[in-house]
Symmetry: C2
Subunit: 205 residues, 2 copies
């Protein structure tokens, strides 16, 4: 029985530095947050930014894509708590979380990569979608389906189309809307506009 016996036997030699590992991931996300695409990222720049030798990177990841996959996987997707009192309130909570995230440069840059480099790096996207996109999509779907069930939303509603309405509008605003932060009441205005419809009660088909 040695002093250290937690789980697998610790191999001889100097242990790997967790600090270095974290610095590498952080440097990668930093550079992505400065607008670099995956192809512009260089291992040398990451090593330099992290204050680390290239060896330390290659000892852990065999190439750039593996590193980026891991780096993006660390991005959490903390969803806002939903009150559940009304569909309108929950939708506003979800969309307002999107609005706040769209104010962060890093989030915007990651979304850029997701939007444009999905075809070139399928492994990367697969994990990113599973980790970051799917939970949000599922939350939005649940709220909308509940609305249909409770009668707050039309019974014949196309749920997928409704999801595209909300997500697409917020995405569009963050990309092509007014520069700087999105207005604080944007989520509420989007939700009310979508729920009520552009025609108000003028159109009956």
């Amino acid at each position: 029985m040695t002093i250290q016996d937690s789980g697998a036997a610790r191999p001889a030699g100097r242990p790997r530095s967790e600090k270095a590992e974290k610095a590498i991931i952080d440097a990668t996300l930093d550079l992505i947050g400065e607008g670099m695409g995956v192809s512009e990222l260089s291992i040398e720049a990451i090593a330099s930014r992290a204050g680390v030798g290239k060896t330390t990177i290659y000892r852990r990841w065999s190439n750039k894509e593996d590193l980026v996959v891991d780096a993006l996987s660390t991005l959490k997707a903390p969803l806002p708590p939903l009150s559940g009192t009304s569909v309108r309130d929950d939708l506003i909570s979800l969309l307002d979380a999107m609005r706040r995230e769209a104010g962060q440069a890093r989030t915007r840059c990651v979304m850029n990569i997701a939007m444009s480099e999905a075809d070139r790096y399928p492994r990367l996207m697969e994990r990113f979608v599973k980790r970051a996109v799917e939970p949000r999509r599922q939350a939005l779907r649940s709220v909308i389906e509940r609305g249909v069930a409770t009668g707050e939303l039309r019974p014949d509603l196309d749920v997928e189309l409704a999801m595209a309405l909300f997500s697409g509008t917020m995405m569009w605003q963050s990309k092509w809307g007014p520069a700087g932060d999105l207005p604080a009441d944007l989520a509420e205005r989007v939700v009310d506009t979508v729920l009520l419809g552009l025609a108000g009660d003028r159109v009956r088909r």
Copy 2:
């Protein structure tokens, strides 16, 4: 008075080949259409694809960005004719044009570049927005404003928000929607859903 005196005096020597120029632009757009980002594009690949020497490129453009700016500037933005009979019909025409364009690989790749590389290549984007985005945006705005004026749309409608609703939804569908072509009736369904609202006549605020 010489034989040739049309406008500026023709300089001595072999004239530049318009065919080569066209081949260079086409090759550039081809490569973009195959999913290449601006930074992945190489002058060598363009020259090779165009069947042209690098000299012939550098004689016309001083660097890659200038070439890409010119190449994207040649993309026309033919807007669909609008019947003007109803706002609903015109909206469907506009959105259906978006849907059809989203089916072309080249259009999707150009949009990818527009979405993700705007910050890195501001000159490129400035011209592209002016040439391709602005006309569509203006057409959509006109239709919506007309709808407000005629009473087909709510008088208190936020026009910019409405535009984001339509554009963002179509964009979202083309990027994250079902693989392959978008369904033929998508534009109509989006327009009717947005006009009527998700709540139907259930919500009065």
